[in-house]
């Protein structure tokens, strides 16, 4: 239950050819548009060098189909092709497919006639309240924020087609109905396809705000697109290796850039042997880029980040730039204040702080001291987890071009384009209106691309070098210049009464601070469960000074806090001599105050916990062989209710493998695209298991790990089978990029305890500690 996580990491991001925003405003009816501008990236529009758009190598030129724009989101060709714009970045969370489904459903479109095109980052066109708000990928927000707006948009578009038919036939709109992509007047037995009506519809006045608010939506029972599995729109192109990612962008005349940054975040360039680098054949330029902004904190904390000092090398190809950097470049750095930071130092400081009273109280209720004193039994344990990287498989990159007219264009995999626009405008010293951002499909997001540091670097490099550039980070850059999931330390104590009921719980949470507040993604919700479900609790916090960049990683805060809390609750259950699943159900039944923060419903959680027990055969777990165990955990985040049971086998050698994870989730009354939803849940679970193997170690103020050989990604042989079940309830649909992740690690560690009696209180898991005989 994260306190304040507006932007977590769904996946997602897209790209298209440039659209002139002045041509139309949201839902303004446009004249026939046509032209190459309407070609989708996926279809490989190949704008010529003269229009200067990014081209995708090997893309065949295709003649544009004429399209009648009904509004900013929908265009229909006279042949009936329907182009729907995907408004949010696609980072792998599936929104490029899913959001157009919402529009198509209420438009009553023939899905087989739909083409999806990625929208530009354009707040006036696509980021309005009427279309579900800002264009971004994060916080599992796409579904809850667009569920009604995009359906209304589809319905209003349908109304325009109805009006066109009514005018053409001289009949009242009220007598018309629609079937897939056709308007029907039953009384006169007339039909017209959407294609036939497109030109007339495009000439009609736009639906006004009032219509958008009052337009009738379908009876949900009659949905024929929502709730049916639609394969990811780009999959056929992905498996053919068509260029579509940020790293694939090519701009005419483009050069390639690498950027050397200081290992210690915020370090300043004192000097660099630029002349020697420039003498390398193929190197076009080498220069120092300076930090923009005096205050370091906002540049390394949060969801935008900024431009720090570095040295850019620009070359004819990327390999040459990278090789010149490795073999020739020498930089003298002033490393700055945080050069003594270390993970070992943080651990020592956390242990020291844990001995004292918390520096501040987050939330307190009931008489904890009395409950501890009266307890039949108390349980005390400390949990911790390390810093983690995002490690998107596509390293950070950005293609930038400064145009002759003073405008600048970016091809970016950003999850959060508008702050990126502000950042690059500042770096370039131009108005935000001079910045165009093409949202390009990202090879993973997980929150990394909420920050736009690579955009700022590309802007500075393009400006200084005078060339369009593609900046591409190495994997080592990516590992060492991330904004990490902060580590955390939880020091728990719980009281049990004679009946084994939990009467009190305390947590002294030790975290990291930026200025006077917890750093980004380093908070603990005061309402963290079981607060409000036990008679007394006290959560306090102490903070450690540090200089490491932090930011949201998929299910921020939840991804660590859930491990600590759901593991400790498991310990308490065992101390109480109770079945850990039944113990959780008991707690969930004992709500002592009204609905908790974030609208948490104990009943919804109770139901998924109970159901996952049934589906996993929890009751039969005692018959498992020695060394195999089952564990349970639940969590509420991003409005989703998730409970997992993991089955783990631990060999006597300590080698362990998660065999299977059963997932039950309640994300409301519709699972919009079931195949995409299940894919997200499967991936989240395996991602969560993978995080149990990972760590980022800070030494001498910098990241020790370099690449996947020392910061491993989970592999197919380690990945469990995953059984996903969505429990349908009468609640508004909610998002799925994140909430299935947090329960995975504690379900697994609780299963390891069941298998071996060994309680894992610290991540990553150390295999050698799990040996048993």
């Amino acid at each position: 239950m994260p306190l304040d996580t507006p932007f977590g990491a769904d996946n997602g991001a897209p790209a298209t050819a440039p659209v002139d925003a002045s041509r139309r405003t949201f839902l303004k009816i446009g004249a026939a548009a046509g032209g190459g501008l309407m070609l989708s990236l996926a279809a490989c529009a190949t704008p010529t060098d003269t229009d200067g758009a990014a081209t995708l190598a090997t893309a065949p030129a295709a003649p544009p189909a004429p399209l009648e724009e009904i509004n900013a989101f929908v265009a229909i060709s006279p042949t009936g092709k329907i182009r729907i714009m995907a408004k949010n970045p696609e980072i792998g969370q599936g929104v490029k497919t899913m959001l157009p489904m919402l529009i198509a459903e209420e438009l009553d479109a023939d899905w087989s006639a739909v083409d999806i095109e990625q929208a530009m980052a354009d707040a006036a066109l696509y980021g309005t309240a009427a279309s579900g708000g800002m264009q971004f990928a994060g916080g599992s927000r796409a579904t809850p924020s667009t569920w009604l707006p995009l359906r209304r948009l589809g319905a209003a578009t349908r109304q325009v087609l109805l009006q066109a038919a009514a005018q053409t036939w001289g009949v009242p709109v009220g007598e018309l109905t629609t079937g897939p992509s056709v308007v029907i007047h039953a009384a006169s037995n007339r039909r017209a396809t959407y294609g036939e009506l497109a030109t007339a519809a495009a000439a009609l006045p736009a639906p006004d705000d009032e219509m958008m608010k009052t337009v009738a939506l379908k009876d949900e029972a009659s949905f024929r697109i929502i709730g049916k599995s639609v394969k990811q729109w780009d999959t056929p192109r992905i498996v053919r290796g068509e260029p579509m990612f940020g790293i694939d962008m090519v701009v005419p005349g483009m050069k390639y850039a690498v950027f050397e940054q200081c290992g210690v975040w915020g370090g300043k360039v004192v000097s660099a042997n630029l002349d020697e680098v420039k003498a390398v054949p193929g190197v076009v330029d080498a220069f120092i880029v300076r930090q923009v902004g005096d205050d370091l904190a906002p540049l390394i904390d949060g969801t935008n980040l900024g431009l720090l000092d570095g040295v850019a090398i620009v070359a004819d190809d990327w390999w040459t730039a990278k090789t010149a950097r490795e073999k020739v470049l020498k930089v003298v750095w002033d490393e700055g204040a945080s050069r003594t930071d270390s993970s070992a130092g943080f651990d020592a400081k956390a242990a020291e702080l844990a001995k004292g009273a918390p520096q501040s109280v987050l939330n307190e209720k009931g008489d904890v001291a009395a409950a501890m004193k009266a307890a039949a039994k108390t349980v005390e344990a400390s949990y911790s987890y390390p810093f983690l990287p995002h490690a998107t498989l596509e390293p950070q990159n950005c293609t930038a071009r400064i145009n002759a007219d003073g405008t600048a264009e970016f091809w970016s995999t950003t999850q959060l384009p508008e702050p990126g626009r502000g950042l690059v405008a500042k770096v370039l010293g131009v108005e935000q209106s001079a910045i165009k951002i093409h949202m390009i499909r990202a090879g993973g997001g997980f929150g990394r691309r909420l920050a736009n540091d690579y955009m700022a670097q590309a802007a500075a490099i393009a400006k200084h070098s005078g060339h369009p550039v593609k900046l591409l980070w190495t994997r080592e850059d990516d590992m060492r210049h991330d904004h990490y999931r902060p580590g955390g330390y939880h020091n728990f104590k719980a009281a049990l009464d004679k009946a084994g009921a939990m009467t009190a719980m305390t947590n002294h949470f030790v975290t990291f601070k930026r200025g006077t507040r917890p750093a980004n993604s380093a908070q603990l919700s005061p309402a963290e469960f079981p607060a409000g479900f036990i008679p007394a609790h006290s959560y306090g916090m102490s903070m450690i000074e540090f200089g490491v960049p932090t930011g949201p990683l998929r299910a921020p805060e939840s991804n660590g806090v859930c491990f600590a809390y759901q593991s400790f609750l498991d310990e308490v259950a065992h101390a109480a001599g109770k079945d850990p699943l039944a113990f959780r159900l008991e707690l969930l039944s004992a709500q002592t105050e009204g609905p908790a923060a974030g609208g948490f419903s104990a009943q919804r959680m109770y139901d998924v916990v109970k159901l996952v027990g049934e589906r996993s055969g929890w009751a039969n777990r005692t018959s498992l062989p020695k060394g195999t165990g089952m564990g349970v955990a639940f969590y509420y985040s991003h409005l989703g209710y998730f409970a997992h049971v993991a089955k783990v086998k631990v060999e006597p050698s300590g080698q362990w493998r998660v065999q299977k994870v059963w997932v039950v989730g309640d994300i409301g009354k519709h699972v919009i695209n079931p195949t995409g939803a299940a894919n997200q849940a499967e991936g989240s679970v395996i991602d969560g298991v993978g995080e149990m193997l990972q760590t980022i170690t800070i030494e001498n103020g910098r990241t020790k790990q370099a690449n996947f050989f020392d910061m491993p990604l989970i592999r197919i042989n380690q990945a469990p089978d995953v059984d996903v079940h969505f429990h349908i309830t009468d609640n508004a649909p909610t998002g799925l990029g994140e909430p299935a992740l947090p329960p995975a690690p504690p379900a697994v560690t609780n299963a390891i305890f069941a298998a071996t009696g060994k309680r894992i209180r610290q991540l990553p898991v150390v295999t050698s500690s799990l040996r048993w005989t």
Binding site: D317, G444, N707
Partner: protein
Amino acid sequence: MAFTINVNGKTQTVDVPGDMPLLWVLRDKLELKGTKFGCGVASCGACTVHIDGAPARSCVTPISSVGAGVVTTIEAVGDSPTGRAVQAAWVEVDVPQCGYCQAGQVMAATALLSTTPKPTDRQIDDAMAGNACRCATYVRIRKAIKTAAGLPTADTREA
């Protein structure tokens, strides 16, 4: 220096340093963007191509070492029946999330099925463990390989 290599059935000559990895020749000289860069050190499999039918990490394959080897990339893997079946299974099972690793996965899976048409779960694990998927689409990768092989798709590793 000039190197003449055979890529996707075409003979191509590039003038590059001999230590330039095949990956960057493909991507930045031959404009074949399908082969991806993930780690540069043979640790992720995103850059997997076939050389004479066998999977190779193009990020650590210097162009000077390719010689007369026949290079096949994701752009042409569908020319073989096995590659085509793998691509079709990937679509059928709806494998990708972000999709970035999937070119490498398809190449590795095609190489597996070319030598082992009916792989066991263990053989799939062994052949595919070098190909990381950060989005963790492993349940579906397994399923798609079995679909392409015409095998039942259930995960049998537990048994």
